[in-house]
């Protein structure tokens, strides 16, 4: 039986600080085996280190991770100091559709907790990183429609900011179609050079650190990601 202690709200560290939630959707399918997943692990550790070096970001940013490789594994939101990612291993297919849906769900639940505790928030960031093509959905099926509609609805209603990053082998056509609601020249679909996750996560920590120092609703400028923007007409 749950006790009184279990009825307490879940821990949101630094509740007096406005929150900047970031959801990382990371591809750990079999094609990421070997060096790519090693570099990914290194990059994620680097992200934690960079955020902890920023006094404001370490209190403001909350990270959750959803990995997809064979199955989908969600890791709940926490502050950088409590972010202790396991060493991800690669294997299995690429259930990207389910991972996106679970990521959006985690964001919605966290937002409810912020609301219940009167905590203000910045628009959550959703960052998808993949080296392949989704294996649990394809254009025209129900999951595809659900994912595309949700991403569009969430972005149109300013509930999230979605970014996608592909490494060699990624299906950029699919990524473009997932974010086809974004204007073509501003579409946040990028191709990383090789597997430079370190540069990607450095850019990510620098960018969300800028967000974490901004005022609610303020327009801010961040550097372009260390990657080539992909513009495909879909």
């Amino acid at each position: 039986m749950a006790g009184l202690n279990d009825l307490l709200p879940s821990d949101i560290r630094y509740p007096q600080e406005m929150k900047c939630p970031v959801c990382l959707l990371l591809d750990v399918s079999s094609s990421m085996s070997g060096e790519p997943v090693r570099l990914l692990n290194q990059g994620v550790s680097e992200l934690k280190k960079e955020l902890l070096n920023d006094n404001q970001a370490k209190k403001t940013v909350e990270i959750c991770v959803v990995t997809f490789g064979g199955s989908v594994k969600p890791y709940p939101f926490c502050t950088p100091e409590n972010f202790n990612p396991p060493t991800y291993t690669a294997g299995g297919g690429t259930p990207m559709g389910e991972a996106i849906l679970q990521g959006l769900d985690l964001i919605e639940k966290r937002k409810e907790q912020y609301k219940a505790q009167g905590i203000h928030k910045y628009r959550p960031w959703v960052v998808i990183m993949t080296d392949g093509a989704p294996t649990d959905m394809s254009e025209g099926d129900t999951t595809w429609a659900q994912v595309v509609n949700k991403l569009e609805e969430y972005e149109e209603n300013k509930k999230i900011i979605a970014w996608t990053f592909g490494v060699p082998g990624a299906d950029f056509d699919a990524l473009n179609k997932l974010l086809s609601h974004q204007e073509l020249d501003k579409r946040r679909v990028y191709e990383l050079e090789g597997y430079d996750f370190k540069a990607l996560f450095k850019w990510l920590s620098d960018s969300i650190a800028v967000v974490s120092r901004s005022k609610e609703g303020e327009k801010i400028k961040i550097d372009a990601p260390p990657a080539k923007q992909i513009e495909l007409e879909v």
Binding site: G3, L4, N5, L7, L8, P9, D11, I12, R13, P15, A116, Q117, G118, I119, H120
Partner: protein
Amino acid sequence: MITAYAMASGRNHLKDNACCQDNIDIRILKDSLVFAIADGAGSAASSLHGSELAVKTFCESLSKSTSLFPDNTCLIAAFDDARKALEKEANKRCCSIKDLHTTLFGGIYLKGNLKCAGIGDSMCFVVEKDGEVLIPVQPTKGEFINETIFITSEYWKDFLKVSDLIENPKSLVACSDGLLNIIYSTVFENGIWKLIPHKDVIENMMDYIAKNHVVIDINKEIADMLRGDRANDLNNDDKALVVAIFNETNRE
């Protein structure tokens, strides 16, 4: 009527082996409840004694004058008596009354009606028949967010707030500000700090206490919860909590 209460040192005080400076007194009479919560100021040398004396004197005074209820005079007289006792104690100790700095919040429930009053940043949340959560007395903040007004302050009477009469409440939770982020939050809107009770936490807590008070030591469980990691992660200040469920048969 079911009542439960506990207080616990916050993580900051536990680390220094310091006592909890929050205090509670509660008197259950034939058909009434008198309760008080006080939060001693951490910066005052003898605030622990101040908060203890304040709740004890308030409850003793109010318990003797329940016949005056629901007139405000019984509540105001109880605050007056607490203030006089604190002045006397300061004289006895040859110290300033400021060395006993404490807030004071208290109330009385009698024959289905409730009234409470407070000075400082302790507070209570009252669950009404329709499930709505009422804040009968808004806590008083000082000039800055981490300041408040004490019954030991110079112009304390100017800040004393007494609630309206609340008829047939379902339950109440009274607490010190150590329960911030646990059962309530604050937001700054239009230049004022607003309290937001965590309705789901309060409702779940009431349900749990109503269902389990006979089979477990509910006061111990509340104390364990208040001194636990989860509560201290949310707020590391001292904590005091009083819960009263007035008519459990009304509960869904």
